[in-house]
Amino acid sequence: MLESILITIATAATPLLIAAIGELVVERSGVLNLGVEGMMVMGAVTGFGVTVTTGSPWLGVLAAVLVGAAFSLLFGFLTLTLVTNQVATGLALTLLGLGVSGMIGEAFIGMPGIKLGSIAIPILSDLPYVGRFLFRQDPLFYVSILLVAGVAWFLFYTRAGLTLRSVGDNHDSAHALGISVIAVRYGAVAFGGACAGLAGAYLSLVYTPQWIENMTAGRGWIALALVVFASWRPWRVLAGAYLFGAVSIGQLHAQAIGVSVPSQFLSALPYLATIAVLVLISRNRRLTMVNTPACLGRPFVPAR
């Protein structure tokens, strides 16, 4: 019983986690991309479409990652090269993604999908209680955990990560040091887009292997809230994603045992939790200063 609950929580948490860890890198570089929902839904439709066309879910995953990255580079071109407003451009990207995915997905509605199979790690997967949860999962579950570890290591233990954080903290100083602010940000934005695309593919290839219009259902927004909730720290994103995942699964189980909590309240919980965390971290200025990218959302135009 506990193990199956854990597994359902993991399915709910993984797409949030993948999308959020990508957005965390974007925001650490000082760019606010509100288009996560749009990139995610594009990933979902591409992943599904390529999978049913070619019969290979792996090709679907690859295509979703590439489309997510390409979609985010459109955002990058507009905000970084043409210096448009990041908030407005991000919102436009979400609307564009929902629209375009609906159009492409028209043909796929009602088609049966192919589920990405799970991979069992020998011996470990037979461990009692946690074996199935930790070691007999879909491949993207493992990818999500590796992504968190990789991002945490990259940001805080590599020189490139230091460069990325410096760009997010003070882009003028970074420029004065000879760091190419725009190039770093393009890289971060593309990574964020690739992650969002992957998260979308998870939805249409693992979570519910079919295409439904708007199937992201606000998960992109929860991922954005998660980044703030985690105060821009990778491992806290992991904790937050599983917490939010547990809340949405808890909603189903609560209904099953007859406790009636309005579902609207439960779906609002992640946002309420984010607001609570925002209030808490704003009180601690030191914490905010060290973790919040000071240049978040600020356009960079070098003086020549």
């Binding site: 020189r159 230091l162 954080r165 903290d169 003070n170 100083s173 040091l177 760091i179 200063m289 919040t292």
Partner: protein, 529 residues
């Protein structure tokens, strides 16, 4: 003696083995020639001063040397070869290092991480920390490599900048107004470091408008005015007065000060004002007490970041006090009053930042005038149904501009369109126009040209002599000595007892700025902590 114009001192250049030669460097912003055909040469092992008033083009010039700005024309020769410096990275690669005036550090990162970012090679962070520690010891600049920059004082931040620069082993180090944030004692320490570096054969381009330190430290000097080179000279053979004349021309008139009036009634009184630090980088105010009498100018000196900003906020009402009695304006308790409430008691305030704090950059001068005076002059400026009396407002704005000699482009331009000095004159004039009985000013002439500064200082003295109480917070000691009747010093959130101007010397004030006499309260009641 000074060689004027383009005549570069070639003999010296040859002997010293010319490290850097600049010919005809020009930079144009819009219609303004920020740098106009600048010639300069620096030899090896030379400390070369670049002198000039604020806005003379010094910063623009060095930004071109450091690759942060692109010159419109002219050429740069580095070690005899013509180079184009397209980016700060290229400048560092050549061997040019720079310590910025406004620090270019990353506050969220540690000192070692900041240093690591500016080094090209791939060295592990622990090794960098070790090297930074060694260098800091060798040059007497103590430093903790693992401290977050946001937690450090300005003096410590400057050390990081210098050590970061030294680790790149540059041949030429550019220092942009390095002493503007240091106490005289910290500055002495810096000079020793610079002299050591010169003896090791490094060249230094030292930008300053402080003449005494240039005379003491520098081998040669280039003087800029309005973007042009007005002289190359040996500062040791010049007097401070002759250097000042080269820098500012003949536009400056000395400020006239009548004998200080004292013994008037106390108009501004602060007693036991305390304020906890609002954030980890703010300074808490500790038991501040002061009194300014009618007819008096009280100056508050101190190194930047010792609580002056916090004190100003507390006095102006941007932050309210715990107890109403801790601040009294004209005998009335004002500690719990809002900014408007304090203004209605006859007080006026001029904050440090002109744009964004003292004035809204995108609003016209008349609109900015209305913003600060709609309560105190409500009847004159606002008509029935809260409509603005445009005519009265325009008249008032014109009156202020005329009184303070504000030079502006149009009839009623946006605040951001004015030069710093002219906007500052307008903002101070806006408050003076009310004839306030108490005026509190923070950094009245920061970044203002000499002519405007003299005008502002004179206006402050005249206001005091007409019977008002004036409190001036400034980092410019020369200014405070010029206008104050007494000077008190802020250090670490505490205020010293005021020294009457007759007893004050640079040395005494400098010691207080460095915190040499903590809790020095000669005239005030003893602290009961």
């Amino acid at each position: 003696m000074a060689t004027t114009g383009a005549g570069v001192d070639r003999k010296r250049e040859g002997k010293a083995g010319g490290l850097l030669t600049v010919r005809g460097l020009t930079k144009i912003f819009g219609t303004l020639k920020a740098c106009d055909g600048i010639d300069l040469s620096i030899g090896r092992g030379e400390i070369h001063a670049l002198l000039g008033e604020n806005g003379a083009g010094k910063s623009t010039f060095v930004k071109m040397l450091f690759g942060a700005l692109e010159p419109a024309s002219g050429e740069i020769l580095w070690k005899g070869e013509r180079v184009s410096i397209s980016s700060p990275g290229a400048a560092r690669h050549l061997g040019i290092g720079m310590v910025f005036q406004h620090f270019s550090l990353f506050e969220a990162l540690t000192a070692a991480e900041n240093i690591m970012l500016s080094l090209d090679e791939k060295t592990p962070i622990l090794k960098i920390a070790e090297r930074a520690r060694e260098l800091s010891k060798a040059y007497g600049l103590p430093l903790d490599p693992f401290a977050h920059v946001g937690d450090l004082s300005v003096g410590e931040r400057q050390r990081i900048e210098i050590i970061r620069c030294l680790l790149q082993k540059p041949d030429l180090i550019i220092l942009d107004e390095p002493t503007s944030v240091l106490t005289p004692q910290e500055a002495d320490k810096l000079f020793e470091t610079l002299e050591t570096l010169r003896d090791e054969g490094k060249s230094i381009l030292y930008i300053s408008h402080r003449l005494e330190e240039v005379k003491r430290l520098c081998d040669r000097a280039t003087v800029l005015r309005h973007g042009k080179v007005v002289a190359h000279c040996d500062p040791r053979k010049e007097t401070a007065t002759s250097l000042a004349r080269m820098m500012v021309g003949d536009e400056v008139q000395a400020v006239k000060r009548a004998a200080g009036g004292s013994g008037g009634e106390v108009l501004l009184e602060v007693a036991g004002l305390a304020r906890p630090a609002a954030n980890p980088f703010a300074v808490p105010l500790r038991d501040i007490r002061l009194a300014v009498r009618s007819g008096e100018v009280l100056g508050i000196a101190g190194v930047a970041g010792n609580g002056q900003g916090e004190l100003f906020e507390a006095l102006s009402g941007e932050v309210l006090q715990e107890s109403a009695a801790s601040l009294r304006i004209r005998g009335k308790d004002a500690g719990r009053l809002s900014i408007s409430g304090r203004r209605l008691l006859g007080a006026a305030f001029v904050p440090e930042e002109r744009l964004g704090h003292g004035a809204v950059p995108q609003m016209r001068l008349s609109e900015n005038l209305l913003l600060s005076r709609h309560v105190t002059d409500g009847r004159a400026l606002v008509g029935p149904l809260w409509t603005v009396r445009g005519g009265a407002l325009a008249k008032a704005a014109a009156r202020i501009a005329a009184a303070m000699d504000v030079r502006k482009g149009g009839d009623d331009p946006e605040a951001a369109a004015l030069s710093g000095g002219n906007l500052q004159k307008f903002i101070i004039g806006r408050e003076l126009d009310r004839q306030p009985s108490v005026l509190v000013v923070n950094q009245p002439t920061w970044g203002v040209d000499a002519g405007a500064a003299a005008r502002i200082r004179q206006a402050l003295i005249d206001l005091a002599r007409s019977g008002s109480a004036v409190l001036v917070i400034s980092q410019d000691l020369d200014e405070l000595f010029e206008i104050s009747d007494a000077i008190a010093v802020m250090h670490d959130g505490r205020l010293s007892a005021p020294l009457p101007i007759a007893e004050a010397t640079f040395e005494k004030i400098g010691l207080l700025m460095g915190g040499a006499e903590p809790g020095h309260h000669a005239g005030a009641p003893l602290e009961t902590a």
